[in-house]
Assembly symmetry: C2
Homo-oligomer: 658 residues x 2
């Protein structure tokens, strides 16, 4: 240690003397290190760096580094068409797994397709069309191996509610259908654009907390809508909010038919029980997978056999046979409803994307492979763009179907192709069999599917951990339930953003004290053994300094100083306050208002004859303070790398001077 | 140092071995400190604390601590009526200063009052009324000693443009006047409410950068509007944007009158020269203070004497004599325009408040006294609430008038009373003298006043220091100029908030290295002498972890690890990566998405068999990670107070184990 001590005396540093109860040895001598500016970069370099972090945080081209151009070409193709990754190594064993999984999800996809189309106020057949074409496209372009492609409940609900608000699906059937295809197109364009322009991070703004509330609210809205089918009501409100729906239900008691109600209850109990069993024992996944098709078959048979007695039970009726007809000619590119189609497309597009990406990531993590959010967006976008030209409406990846796909042992996206072919066979040959399928069974299937979206445990966790997250969840839940789907979503995003802003507006400032015998400075509130260093007030600022908090921070720091002076006066301490140290480690950014605040603080401290010291300025903050000439007013010995060095060096300068 | 070494061996710590070129001594031994939770607090305590920081950051009641109840009563009165602070000690000497300053600002206030009323499309007399009553109220309630009270240019402009958009000031004169009073009432109510509910921080969201752009844009809009008066045009567009205004000017060349243009130019040059001289030599402030009144008198005389030859020059005409008539009966509380009045009130209220508070703070800092933002809001709010009942429209504190007040030597708010009495005398006796005052001189006065709002230097500083601040400035400037005043403002606030969100969405992560011979860890990019510690990857996260960045941070950290492993492989280094340390000092908050990200990262590191360590968890982050049970998965020796302790302790555990 001699050498260190010798060095220390050269470097004008000394021991720190701290009043501690226990007799610890003084901390070792310190050398003071020069604070330096980060290496200079031009505006263009900074911008380039910033843009790279915004749009290419995953460095997508890293695979291409140091490769031959032939290899680069292959990698390029594989990058654009992920199918080229796994198709060459595809074998019979993989196909066996995919076949079983594909058939399993097909048994779910057919009844769900019909039901979800109903939810979007579309013909049931559109739901089947949408389970046929999109899976093929996803298989070529998508990178998730377990996602189950097809119509989704939330997307269908939101599209249905937004379009129905303006155009009646029963009175202006053709216009409604055209709008549905057009908004699917815009959803696809928007999704693909997000992916192509690498704006995938936009979906992060729908926080999990928001989604928990939104999904639960939407699930209840959807479930209430199904009361129409479950009770057999024919004249039902077209509104979505809870109050008019309940009013409509109870004012129409004369339309309730007991046959429908009894059948509904039986099948609902059956479906929910199947769901419950599978959720308890994941290896019994096939029970909940098979339940919807089973109930469709059972109920159809029942109605067919008892049609004389069950005349009041409404049935699906005639469905056209055959594959998807083209629908390019149905797309609208002008007219008064174009804005509506675009708006619906964007909202349903981002909502279904959020679910699909979350699903993809979840299963990718379980099986330890990567899903690239931006690429997924392109795949889902193209799926919808091509889909809307062949009579498909919005499709994406739903959580329930993907979970069953995963549990059924799917190994590649080919299970979706198997499902699509099964749907095709149904479309070609089995459509007449659905004639006697009662509408109530569709309602029951929808309810049993959306009930899983209500996640009370997650809401409880939010309440326990983060009250503001819970508030976002709460707002989106009641927003959806009481006002409207879009408003609920807007409120929730607003609350989420407000949370960030609030954190920045009123950041913490903490008084630091020294842990005796060390160079560690920690919050005196949290660490009972941390002691204030006499003559120093050491504050740590826990936020970037922006216009939204610079006035606050400035006034708060002045108040800390005032309170410290009062404390010293009240306790009759001998050491007066001589130096204020700001630990700027957490001040990771500063804007011009922040710079002004630092400058004003320096002036205030000068007036009070207090030394004002900044510690550990982060690179860009240091740069800005330097180039704004604010640091010029600080003079020597006012910038340090650590609080320890600052305290040691400043107190040594006091002992040297009289 | 023997004792310290003895202690170190007890505490299971060791020297750090770092590969350094220079032969520095190894750093001193380290003791490992326990990381502990902050003292437990109930939800209620946390909420109370948070609310106190949001609404009472300045601890307004600190003066009342430890006082007798008699003293508390006096302090309470003084708190509500700041006049009680200075009035008892008022003396003749102070009055002499205030008298001179009051007369000086009166000479400015009279022509400006008339002009600004014109700007708001109101009768000139309303401008004088508004310079009479409000100053009295401010003197009793306000705490700034130098602010000059009266109508302000930006407030007048915005009110004029917002009301004129819906109601024509020439065709529906009475309704327009009623709306002006009503929106003044709502402005006052909003301002007082902001102060009473201690929401003063809301004005911080109008950042300086935004205001620089907004003010400059508004100044140009105002100046262009004055072309009507300067050129003598009678048929002029009622729109505010630059393009229709310029079109209107050049399509009406037949209405230009050369007498008006020549007079306008002369007086404009005179006013601008006076302004320039005073801005260069602050002690010649009286030149720019007296110039407007001088030009009013000169131009009025000129028109009066040459009235036969200057027939084309439009004049103000007849103005009623007498003090403010009551206007309570003119306030609108129902009808289709109520919404407009409320909106106008809120926008003009917050804009004029922003200027007034900034003015108050600026001069308070110069003279070293305190101005309480919330109290100022209450004062200005009440001033407008009472004002609108006696024929005053929106008034606040303008920068130009306050600067002259300050330079003229004002000592207390009484200079405003002197000004108000001078205005009263004018109202009572001199109104007929304004009959021949040409409108062009009002236009010239407005232009010379608003030209000071264009602050190119400030814009240049923004460009140099912070490109995003400049963008906010740029957007508000062109928003106001090309679209509309409200849109410009909305865009600017949007850009400012977006800036905060962007910073949080893509935070920096920095690789830290050790500065040889110390316990300091700093960015390896910035400090060339900082060296990476073999087998460790030390990352510092420079932002709170929120839903908006948790996915990004998770993926970015995984990418850092991948890149570090590649680097080691390429350089054929012998020490493989064994431990990832996250320095969480700047992670000052975390939400549920952030907690999930940490948990996922832990799982990823486990799969890669890497030790994953968190360092310096801030109080509330520690708490949340603890209560979410995330820390349970971390096991022992994974939380440290400092990076130095973490590196020392972990590498010592490796040397102990084979």
């Amino acid at each position: 240690m001699n050498q260190a001590e010798g060095e220390s005396s050269d470097n004008n540093s000394s021991y720190i003397t701290i009043s501690t109860e226990n007799n610890r040895p003084p901390p070792p001598p310190l050398e003071v290190h020069q604070v330096c500016l980060p290496p200079p970069r031009t505006t263009f370099q900074k911008l380039k760096n910033k843009l790279r972090e915004i749009f290419f945080p995953d460095d997508p081209l890293y695979l291409f580094k140091n490769q031959t151009s032939r290899k680069k070409l292959i990698l390029g193709f594989q990058y654009v068409f992920p199918i080229l990754h796994w198709a060459p190594a595809y074998n019979l064993k993989l196909f066996q797994s995919d076949l079983i999984a594909g058939l399993t999800i097909a048994s779910l996809a057919i009844p769900q397709g019909i039901s979800y189309a109903k939810l979007a106020n579309l013909e049931p057949i559109i739901g089947l069309y949408s389970s046929f074409v999109p899976p093929f496209i996803y298989t070529v372009l998508g990178s998730s191996r377990h996602i189950g492609i097809g119509p989704v409940s939330i997307g269908s609900l939101v599209m249905g509610s937004m379009l129905e608000e303006v155009v009646s699906s029963t009175e202006e059937k053709d216009l409604y259908l055209r709008l549905a295809f057009t908004s699917t197109l815009f959803a696809g364009l928007f999704q693909a654009a997000l992916g192509l322009f690498r704006l995938g991070f936009m979906i992060d703004f729908l926080s999990k907390a928001t989604l928990v509330g939104f999904m639960a609210g939407a699930a209840i809205v959807v479930a209430l809508q199904q009361l129409k089918g479950l009770l057999g009501i024919t004249h039902f409100t077209s509104r979505m909010e809870i109050i008019p729906v309940l009013k409509s239900v109870f004012s129409m008691t004369n339309e309730w038919t007991w046959e429908t109600i009894v059948m509904s209850l039986c099948f609902l109990v059956f479906l929910l029980t199947a769901r419950y069993i599978s959720s308890r024992k994941p290896n019994l996944f096939w029970i909940s997978a098979a339940a919807p098709l089973t109930s469709v078959i059972l109920s159809t048979l029942l109605v067919f056999l008892l049609k004389s007695k069950l005349g009041d039970v409404t049935v699906i009726g005639n469905l056209p046979k055959g594959v998807n007809p083209p629908s390019v000619n149905k797309l609208l590119f002008r007219g008064p409803h174009l804005g509506l189609a675009i708006k619906t497309g964007i909202i349903t597009g981002i909502l279904s994307l959020t679910e699909a990406i979350a699903v993809g990531r979840t299963f990718a993590t379980l099986q330890d492979y990567q899903v690239d959010g931006n690429k997924e967006m392109i795949a889902i976008g193209f799926m919808n763009i091509i889909g809307c030209c062949c009579s498909c409406y919005l499709s994406a990846g739903s959580f329930s179907r993907s979970a069953i796909n995963y549990n059924a042992g799917a190994r590649t996206a080919l299970s979706n192709v198997v499902m699509a072919i099964t749907v095709l066979i149904t479309l070609l040959f089995f459509m007449p069999l659905f004639y006697y399928t009662p509408n109530l069974i569709l309602a029951a299937i929808i309810i049993s599917a959306v009930i899983g979206l209500i996640d009370c445990k997650a809401a409880l966790r939010l309440w326990k951990l983060d009250k503001l997250d819970f508030l976002a969840c709460f707002c989106s839940f009641f927003g959806v339930l009481l006002i409207s789907v879009q408003t609920g979503l807007a409120i929730a995003i607003g609350v989420s953003l407000f949370k960030i802003i609030l954190h920045v507006t009123r950041p913490n400032t903490t008084v630091l004290g020294n842990i005796p015998g060390t160079q560690i400075f920690q919050s005196v509130n949290r660490y009972k053994n941390a002691v204030r260093v006499p003559s120093f007030l050491i504050l740590s600022i826990e936020s970037p300094m922006f216009f939204a908090n610079s006035t606050y921070l400035q006034e708060r720091i002045v108040r800390w100083v005032r309170e410290e002076e009062e404390r010293i006066r009240e306790n009759n301490e001998s050491d007066l306050l001589k130096c204020v140290i700001l630990d700027m480690t957490a001040v990771t950014a500063i804007d011009t208002s922040g710079i002004d605040a630092i400058f004003e603080l320096k002036k205030t401290m000068n007036k009070k004859s207090l030394k004002f010291v900044l510690v550990n300025l982060v690179g860009n903050v240091m740069e800005k303070l330097h180039y704004s000439k604010t640091l010029d007013s600080f003079g020597p010995n006012t910038l340090y790398l650590t609080v320890g060095e600052a305290v040691a060096d400043i107190s040594s300068s006091w002992t040297q001077l009289p």
